[in-house]
Symmetry: C2
Subunit: 551 residues, 2 copies
C-alpha cells in the first residue's frame, strides 16, 4: 500500500538516501534513532525532505539500538537505527543482542565507506559484515542506487518476519516472536548518487495456519492428568495470551509460568497473574520439579543463564515431555492459545489479579521495600522497563502483580545497559503513556546518555535509579561459581564506591531533573511528583545495606 505522499517530481530526482527514507515511510517506518557520521550525512540531509520521518539523535549507538528495541516492542513495527561504520555498529551491538533475543522488529542501518573507497583500508575501514552477521537474522549490503529502494523494503519485511523465516535457525523452538534484527549496510556513494527510486512496501507474511491436530495433541497432554506446566513467552504474554492461559490453568490444573525477563508482558490489576521463572537455576529446578509435560508457548526450553561447577545447565526435568506450541515460529501464537482454551476450557473465565491495597512502607530504603512503593504508586497503563537486576529479583514481581495494569519490558538478552535506552524508545512509541524505568546503578553507566535524549525529546520517563553502590549480582555470582576470594583485590572489582556515583548530578548534567531518596517516604513523594509532571525525571534511590531495617 503506497501512501503516495511523494510527488512524482521529487521521485525522479531522488538520490539513494531519499529513496531509502521514502521506502521506509511507505513501509510504515517513521522513526529512526541516529548517531551518524560522515558516511551517513546524506541520510541526515534527506530528513529535511520528509517531515513525516522523526529522526531522534542519540549520543551513543547503544542508546540508538536499545531505543529501537523499545520502540519495536511497543508498536510491533520496526524503528530504524542509523549507525556509523563498524565502530558505530560495535557500540550498538549489546542492545542489538538484546533485541535479537526479544524478537523485536528492527531495521538496523549501518553506513559504510563509498564502494570504491573500501579497498584503500582508510582509518575507519573494518569488517562490518562479519560483526553484523552475529546479531542479524537478515543482512544485506546494498550495492547500488538501483537496488537501494527494494533492499530497504526487503529489510522492513525481514524485520517483520520471525527469525527463522528470515534465515536464522537457532531460535527455531521459540514461537510467537514478532520480528527480527534486519541489517542494511549502505555505502556512502549509494546514498549520494542520483537515480534511485523508492520501492513499494513488501507484503507482510500471513501467519502459518495451525492444524487441528496440533491443538488436539497439546490438549491431550493437558488432559492427561500428569503434572503439566505451560511456560509462556513472546506474544503469549500479551493480555489475550494470558487470558487464554489462565482459562487453561483453571480448567486443567496445569501450572503456568512466564519467562523471567519478557519481551513485553501485560500484568497488574485486571490481568491474569503469572509468576515468572526464577533467576537461579536451582530455584527453577524446584519450580519445575515433577513436571511430566512441559508446554512451551512462545519460549524455549529453560536453561541456566550461566554454567556453574557441578551443576547441569539444562533445566527441563529429565522425565518431562516437551511440547512446542504451536510448533512454528510464524504461526499466530495468541490465536492458537485462544483455540486451545476454547477446547480445554469452554465457558471458563480467566482469573484476574485484584488491585492490591495501597500500603506504603516507611523507614530507610532497602531492597525489600522500594518495589512496594513503585507498585503502590504506579500510574495506570504505564510501561515499566525493568533493569533493576538484584535489587528487583526478590521483590519486584510481587509488587507489580497488584499494581495498576501495565506493560513490563525485560532484559531479554541479559546484556546490561538496556533499561534507559529501552525506556527512551518506548516513550517515543507511546507518547501518551507514562514510562517508568527501574534501573540498577552499575547497568545505568553503560548507556547513561539516554537521559539526554529523553530531555531533548521531552519524554515522559521516570527513572528510578537503584543505587546499591556495587555490582551486587556479581558478588552473588562469585560464590555461585565456586570462586574463592581472600582479599581486597577481587572485592574492589565488584564495588562501586570510592568514589560514589552521584546520579543526581549525572542526570542534571544531561538536562533531566533529579532528586535523591533515602527513605521509603521520600521515594513515594518524589515518585508521585515525577509521574504527575510531564517530561523526564530521575530519582536516585539509595538502598541501605540492611533489609531488616524495613518498617
Amino acid at each position: 500500500m503506497r501512501t503516495h505522499w511523494i510527488s512524482e517530481e521529487i521521485v525522479t530526482e531522488m538520490n539513494g538516501a531519499r529513496a531509502l527514507l521514502a521506502t521506509l515511510l511507505d513501509s510504515g517506518v517513521n522513526v529512526f534513532f541516529a548517531n551518524p557520521g560522515t558516511s551517513e550525512m546524506q541520510l541526515v540531509a534527506a530528513l529535511d525532505a520528509f517531515e513525516q520521518m522523526h529522526g531522534v539523535l542519540c549520543l551513543f549507538e547503544g542508546v540508538a539500538t536499545g531505543a529501537a528495541d523499545g520502540y519495536g516492542r511497543m508498536t510491533g513495527r520496526p524503528a530504524a537505527t542509523l549507525l556509523h561504520l563498524g565502530p558505530g555498529l560495535g557500540n550498538g551491538m549489546a542492545n542489538l543482542h538484546n533485541a535479537r533475543r526479544a524478537g523485536t522488529p528492527l531495521v538496523n542501518i549501518v553506513g559504510d565507506h563509498a564502494t570504491y573507497h573500501k579497498h584503500l583500508d582508510a582509518p575507519l575501514e573494518s569488517d562490518i559484515d562479519s560483526m553484523a552477521g552475529t546479531v542479524s537474522a537478515w543482512l544485506r549490503r546494498s550495492p547500488s542506487v538501483a537496488e537501494i529502494g527494494r533492499d530497504t523494503a526487503a529489510a522492513v519485511q525481514a524485520a517483520l518476519s520471525a527469525p527463522d523465516a528470515a534465515g536464522e535457525s537457532r531460535d527455531e523452538s521459540r514461537t510467537g516472536t514478532s520480528g527480527s534484527v534486519a541489517t542494511l549496510i549502505v555505502p556512502a556513494d549509494v546514498s549520494w548518487s542520483p537515480g534511485a527510486r523508492p520501492s513499494a512496501p513488501a507484503q507482510p507474511d500471513t501467519p502459518a495456519p495451525v492444524g487441528a491436530e496440533v491443538i488436539d495433541a497439546v490438549a491431550a497432554a493437558f488432559r492427561s492428568g500428569e503434572p503439566t506446566v505451560l511456560l509462556l513467552g513472546g506474544a503469549a504474554l500479551s493480555e489475550a495470551g494470558l487470558r487464554a492461559a489462565s482459562r487453561i490453568e483453571q480448567a486443567t490444573g496445569a501450572r503456568v509460568f512466564a519467562e523471567l525477563w519478557p519481551t513485553r508482558q501485560r500484568q497488574g490489576a485486571g490481568v491474569p497473574a503469572v509468576p515468572p521463572l526464577a533467576y537461579r537455576a536451582e530455584d527453577i529446578r524446584t519450580q519445575l520439579h515433577g513436571t511430566k509435560n512441559l508446554v512451551l508457548a512462545g519460549t524455549r526450553e529453560p536453561v541456566s543463564s550461566f554454567a556453574y561447577p557441578g551443576q547441569a545447565s539444562e533445566l527441563t526435568p529429565p522425565e518431562a515431555r516437551v511440547l512446542r506450541f504451536p510448533g512454528r515460529v510464524d504461526a499466530d501464537l495468541v490465536a492458537a492459545l485462544d483455540r486451545l482454551a476454547d477446547v480445554l476450557a469452554p465457558g471458563v473465565e480467566p482469573v484476574l489479579a485484584p488491585r492490591a491495597a495501597r500500603n506504603l512502607p516507611s523507614g530507610g530504603l532497602n531492597v525489600a521495600n522500594w518495589a512496594q512503593v513503585i507498585g503502590a504508586l504506579l500510574p495506570e497503563d504505564a510501561i515499566v522497563c525493568d533493569e533493576s537486576i538484584t535489587s528487583g529479583l526478590a521483590t519486584l514481581p510481587a509488587a507489580l502483580v497488584g499494581a495498576a495494569a501495565h506493560d513490563l519490558l525485560g532484559l531479554t538478552g541479559l546484556s546490561v545497559g538496556q533499561g534507559l535506552p529501552l525506556a527512551t524508545g518506548a516513550a517515543i512509541a507511546c507518547p501518551r503513556r507514562p514510562v517508568v524505568c527501574l534501573e540498577a546503578d552499575g547497568s545505568a553507566m553503560y548507556t547513561l546518555s539516554a537521559l539526554w535524549t529523553q530531555a531533548r525529546e521531552h519524554l515522559d520517563v521516570t527513572t528510578v535509579l537503584l543505587n546499591n553502590r556495587s555490582y551486587a549480582i556479581l558478588r552473588a555470582e562469585l560464590d555461585r561459581v565456586g570462586a574463592t576470594t581472600t582479599g581486597l583485590a577481587s572485592a574492589r572489582l565488584l564495588d562501586l564506591t570510592g568514589p560514589d556515583l552521584d546520579f543526581v548530578a549525572l542526570a542534571t548534567g544531561m538536562g533531566v531533573p533529579a532528586t535523591r531518596a533515602t527513605t521509603a517516604g521520600q521515594l513515594a513523594e518524589q515518585f508521585a511528583a515525577a509521574v504527575a509532571e510531564p517530561g523526564p525525571h530521575l530519582i536516585e534511590a539509595v538502598l541501605g545495606a540492611d533489609p531488616g531495617a524495613a518498617a
Copy 2:
C-alpha cells in the same frame, strides 16, 4: 625468564584462571582493565592470589579497551583487558579498532560460557569469534586447562609482534608498528577447572635485519634532486626517529611530515618539529603536490579518511614513486632511520624546536585561542591525549610545537570515544607524568565513565573538555559530501544543545573535581591549578561561536 615468585606449592593447585594470571605476570603483563561478568568471576577471584597484578575496574568496556591502548602506547608492553562475553566485546570494539590502527600491543581477554554450556544458546550466547576476528591480528579460544598457560603466553607474544607477523596482512605496508591486538577467549570452565600450569613467557621476536641495499636504495631517492617527501608514523615519531628525520631533512632538502593523529609522537621544545598531514584530502593534496619520491617510514600511503563525491580518495601524487622504508613491518625502524641519516647526513645535527614565548591570550574562549593557553602552560614531559577534533585541527599543532616537550597520542582509527580512556591508561602506565586530555564534547559522551576510573585510581589527568555544543565536524562534513540541507530536521541531528550538556555536573557526579572556563584567562588559571594538584580534574572550556572575538 621466569621470575619464580610463585611457589611450587601454589603452582600445583592452580586452576585455569590462576595459571592465566601467573603466565601474564611472568610475561611482563601486570595490569588489566576489567569490566567483568559471571563468566569471568574466577579471573576476578584469582587476583587475590597475585598482588603484583593490578586490576583496574572500568564501568564500560570501551573504557577498558581504550585504557589498554593508552597503556600499551606508553609502555610498549601490553596490558590485558577483561571483557564479558560477546556483548562486552561489542562495547569494547570501537577502541579495539583504534588500538589495531595504532599498532598497540594489547592482550584482549574475553570470557565465555563453559564449553559444555554453549550449545544451549543461553541468553548471553553469541558468536564471539566472528566479532573478535574483525579487530584481532591473533585470535584463539583456549580449549582446556591443559592449554591455558601456553595460550596465554602465545597471546602475549602475538601482542608484541607486528600485525602481519601475527597473521594479518592488510597493514603490510606499515612498518615500525610495535604490536597487535591479540584476543584470547577463555571459557568459564577452563578458568575454574584445576590442573592448569603457568607457561614460561615466549621469547620476543628479534627485529628483522635491514640490508645495506635497502638503505642505499632509499638514500638514492633522497639524493636524486627530485622533490622528495619523508612521511613518518609509528616508531618513526619517537624522539630518536624524529632526530634522524631532521638530519635527513637538513642534509637533503626533503620535506618531512607526520601522520595527523599519531600512535605516539614526541614533540615540543627540544624536539625536531614535524608538521602533520592535514585532515582534509584537498589540503593533503596541496601538501604533497609535485612530490616525485614519497618515502613511507612507519606509515602507509595517505588516503582520504572518507570518500567525497567527485574527488579521488588516493592522495599519493600520481607522478610519485612510493618507497616503503625499511620495507618490513618487523624491522627496527628507528635503527634503520639512524643508519639512513648517517649515510645521508654525516655530522649534521637535527634542528630542535625552540620554546615559544609564553603569550597568554585574553578574551572570550574560542577555537582560535584555547590551544595557545594549553601550549603556554603545558607541564614538562606531559602526555597529551588529543581528541579535540574540529576544535583543535586548525590551532593545536602550532600551539604544541613550542610547548614543553611531551608525548602526543592521537585518534589513530578515527573512532571517537577514545580520549578519556586513552588518558586513563596512559596515567596508569606513567604514574609520575602529568596527563592532559583534550576532549571534544560529542566524543566525550561515548566513554565518559573513564572519569570515574580516573577518580578511583587517583590518576593525575587534567581533562580540557572543549564544548562547542555541536557535532561540529559533521556540520563541515555535511557540506563536503555535497548534501543539500534545507531545514531543521537535519540541523537537529548535529546540534548538542536543547539541553546543554553540563560537563561540570557530569564530572563531579563521577568524583572528578571540575570547573568551567568561558574566557582564556579562566582557562589559564584553572589549567595551571589543575596540573599543579595531583589527581584528576576536568575543565569545561566553553567555546564561543565567533573566533573573531579572540584578543
